[in-house]
Structures are given as C-alpha cells and as structure tokens.
C-alpha cells in the first residue's frame, strides 16, 4: 500500500457507540494532522472521552471507521490494536495513572521496555525526557510520593519517551492548579511539536484549548462545530 501524505494522520469517520440504550457517539467524524495539536471540547456527556477511546483503539465502535497512518484500526484484531498502541500511541490521563510503587523513572521507562528496549538504554532515555520536563531531580522517588505537578510531568514524559505518532490526553491538567497545569501543558505541547507528534487533548478548559492549533466541539455525541481555521 502506498502512503498518501496528503491524508491526515488520524481519521475517525461516522463513529457510533451505544452503551445499552444510551447513545454516546452518533456519527462523529474527526481528523488530526501529522504534528497537529487538536483540542476536543464539549459539555459533560457530549462523548469526548468515548471518541478518544475509539480513536486510540481502546474501544471498538458499533459503526464507523478509525484510521491511524496506514492502519485501519477499527478492522484490526485486538492483538494488532494492542501492538499498535504500544508502539505508536502515548496517553496522558487526568490523574497520571502512574504505578505508585515504582519510581518515576521506572514508570517513564515502561513503554520502552515493553517495546523491547534494554533496561539500561530505557533508563537513559527516560531520564533524558524527564530532564526536558524538569523532573529529573525526583526521578528516583516513588510515584506515590511526589507532588501532583511532578507526577503529571512524569506522565507526560512516559507518553513521549517512545516517540509515538500520536498522544491522547484526557483532561491532562484537570487535577492541577493553574500554574502547575500551565507548566505541564507548555511542556507537552512544546516537546510534541519538537518531535512532530500529533496530540489530541480532551478538555472542558478554555485555557487548555488555547494551546491547540485547532478546536473541535462536540455536543450530544456529534461533532457540531466546523473545525476552526488554524491560527498557526
């Protein structure tokens, strides 16, 4: 298959998901370009997180398709989707989701080790990314013993360390105060741009969305507003 470089990196088309009688997604369509930062906004219950889970291959939609690069994610087996996520996707969640018993550097190195990188190299690369994010000084502390802002920066490092094609961030600063949140977001956006990594940020916070190149709005399971023109 030849790759069409004019296509967006990520495309979710006519996605439909229901949980019992509740329609979470009703024909939602969204694209994310290579290296683009997109904010996905909408009120609670609008389908933002469900859409993110479909695009990340965590949730198989009832209808519609998801393509990332050349892979039709929605048609792939769970094994293939899992392998793809491990290699090419990074996640940042609201509460970091670090393993509290491991040190920060062990948490950050995990994606590399799961991809077959040797422990010593994984440790070195993890520390390098942590230095970029200003958390190298607490690298050897247990994840459960550091401040929220530091833990979230480590979560960003973990999402970036294996140089994924795309990062999915679900309310990445939701648990932080304004100053800590701005610092985490600045770091995520800056490092992602440097690496050419696409980022899809789910947020209800306008100040978070202001970091994005483009804003997509959802309501009642649908993408309702046309994508705003990029200002970059």
């Amino acid at each position: 298959m030849t790759s069409d470089t004019s296509l967006p990196l990520l495309e979710g088309r006519d996605l439909t998901v229901s949980f019992g009688e509740t329609s979470a997604l009703r024909g939602a369509t969204i694209t994310v370009g290579t290296g683009e930062i997109v904010a996905l906004m909408g009120p609670s219950g609008s389908g933002k997180s469900t859409l993110l889970h479909c695009l990340a291959g965590v949730l198989v939609p009832d209808a519609g398709s998801v393509r990332i690069g050349e892979l039709e994610l929605s048609e792939a087996s769970e094994r293939k989707r899992s392998a793809f996520r491990l290699r090419s996707v990074g996640f940042v969640f609201q509460f970091g989701d670090l393993v509290p018993e491991l040190t920060l550097v062990e948490n950050v190195a995990l994606p590399l080790q799961l991809n077959g990188v040797r422990p010593r190299e994984a440790d070195a690369r993890a520390r390098s990314v942590m230095a970029d994010l200003g958390v190298l000084v607490v690298a050897d502390r247990r994840a459960g013993a550091v401040a929220g802002g530091q833990a979230q920066r480590a979560a960003v490092a973990r999402a970036l360390v294996h140089r994924p094609k795309v990062i999915f961030a679900d309310e990445p600063t939701g648990s932080l105060d304004t100053v800590a949140g701005e610092a985490v977001l600045d770091a995520l956006v800056s490092l992602a741009r440097d690496a050419g990594t696409s980022v899809l940020i789910v947020t209800h916070d306008n100040r978070v969305a202001a970091h994005a190149d483009r804003l997509v709005t959802m309501r009642d399971g649908c993408v309702v507003a046309p994508d705003m023109a990029s200002v970059r």
């Binding site: 009120p43 304004t178 600045d186 800056s190 916070d205 306008n206 100040r207 969305a209 202001a210 970091h211 994005a212 804003l215 507003a225 705003m228 200002v231």
Partner: protein
Amino acid sequence: MTVARTLLGLLEPAPAHGYTLKKRYDAHFSRLKPLPFGQVYASLARFERDGLAETQGVESGDGPERKLYAITPDGVTVVEGWMYSAEEPTAFASSTLFAKTALALLSGRSARAVLDAQRQMHLIRMRELTESRRLVGATEVLAISYELNHLDADLRWIEEAGHRLDALHHGLKGQANDL
C-alpha cells in the same frame, strides 16, 4: 483614574522626568498601546498642583527644560489608599454581549449566532495570548494571565448562555409584555 494613580505610584521608587516616567509605564503596563506624552505631562502638572508630587530640579539643555518630579508624602498616602481599596465588583455587571444576545432574541434573530461569533473571537485571542506568553518575562506573564482569565470567564458565560437561551427568550418576552 487608574492611569494617573499608576503614574504617581511609579514615581515612588525614584524621581523621574516625564519622558522617563512614560517609559516606565509603557514597559510594565502598555503592552498594546503606549501612553501619549500629553497624558503623562498633564498628569504630572495635576500632581504638582494637588501637592502629590513636586519638582526637584530643572535641567536645561538643547531641547525644552526638563523637570525632575518626585512623589511627596501626601502622594505616597494617596497611592497606598488607592492600592489597598478593592474595586467595585459590579464593574462587570453590564455587558455588551448580553445586550446583543437579548436584542437578538427579542427581534427573532439567532442569538446562538451572536454567541458563536463572539466565542470564535475570544478563542482566537486566547490562542494569541497563550502563544505570546512563552516569549515574555514574569510581569508580562501575569498581565497576560489576567486577560486570559477574563476571556475564560466570558467563554464560560457564553457556554451557559447557550444552554439558557430558551429560558432567556421566555423571560425577555414576558418583561416586554409587562412594559
């Protein structure tokens, strides 16, 4: 009033000529529009008239004479009193956007279009400010943050107004019938 009090306060660290005072003001507070010279000199003349500042010396040179102004103890008292007096929170109670939204509803036009247009403008401005924030010093970051927070508050009102348009429409119609 705010500009005048700020200019007076900027004399406290050190006396200054009008030109120097304007440069101090512009460096900290005039990101978008430098203060006109006329406003600075008019303010200094009023300060001197009211005993809040005094001339400490006059320099002659190639151009016009340059007066050196210093704040007086009365001036310091005025600045402190102003600094520690909270602003009336009702400053934000009236809103052009609310008026436009209400008028759109009363005239049968699309109030949602009014809100959407304003939301777009606000979001574009927030992006510009967020981008510029990375390139400036600490004082400017705080000034930008102030503007961002106000834009954010407006956007949250716009979101809420969007949810309440039907109720607002009924309420306005009721008020119009009563008049």
